[in-house]
């Protein structure tokens, strides 16, 4: 069975801090790893990673995949209160399915 593990489960930081979220996986027929941000109900897409070692960036967020270590990290620099959310890692396998991790709850205090 596919497995996606995120750490930490939650963290609290102050505005301006940098956070690093981790995602490790064990799946058969890996295709891609995706990061989502969930604030109220709907997860919003952040990144999709398929190749090892290539960093993807969007503003203050960046992510990289390590296929050798079967893991990915998501970095958020200069955090703002609007970054408070649950960050979900999902791994796509060969049959279009996404397996989600439990998520990391990030709370940014002013």
């Amino acid at each position: 069975e596919d497995k996606v593990v995120q750490s930490p489960l939650s963290l609290v930081v102050h505005e301006g801090d940098t956070v690093t979220l981790n995602c490790s996986y064990e799946v058969t027929n890996f295709r891609s790893l995706l990061w989502y941000k969930q604030e109220k109900k709907a997860p919003t897409f952040l990144f999709m990673l398929t190749s090892s070692g290539i960093e993807k960036k969007s503003g203050r967020l960046s992510s990289i995949l390590d296929k050798k270590e079967l893991s990915s990290i998501l970095n958020i620099t200069a955090t703002q209160t609007g970054d408070s959310a649950i960050y979900l890692c999902a791994v796509g396998s060969g049959d279009y399915k996404l397996s989600f991790g439990a998520g990391t709850t990030v709370t940014v205090r002013a």
Partner: protein, 115 residues
């Protein structure tokens, strides 16, 4: 990305009743997915809905409990049947878009509370 709408956005239902959730996409898509997110939990795939064929259900989910319709390439419904309090969850539909496999975009979700 994709513009996805869901109805209703939330509902409170009595046990033993059924609720049908609608998912509408702004353009044609091949695959639509239904997920459940129970309180404090991550997303779990219920089924994959392709137009013109029966939905494919994941382990632990059955058609009698979660019948799905996919009458065309822009619309799908999920029914939660004979509800119990354990069905209280957020139900989300998603679509695969962009020509990139597994780049799924999610609808706004339906928050269901069963009393």
């Amino acid at each position: 990305s994709a513009v996805i709408s869901q109805k209703p956005s939330r509902d409170i239902c009595q046990r033993g009743t059924s609720l049908t959730i609608q998912c509408q996409v702004d353009s044609q898509v091949t695959m639509m997915f239904w997920y459940r997110q129970q309180p404090g939990q991550s997303l779990t795939l219920i089924a994959t809905a392709n137009q013109g064929s029966e939905a494919t259900y994941e382990s632990g989910f059955v058609i009698d409990k979660f019948p799905i319709s996919r009458p065309n390439l822009t619309f799908s419904t999920l029914t939660v049947s004979n509800m119990s309090p354990e069905d209280s969850s957020i139900y989300l539909c998603s679509v695969e878009r962009g020509g990139l496999l597994e780049t799924q975009y999610f609808g706004p979700g339906t928050r269901l509370l069963v009393l």
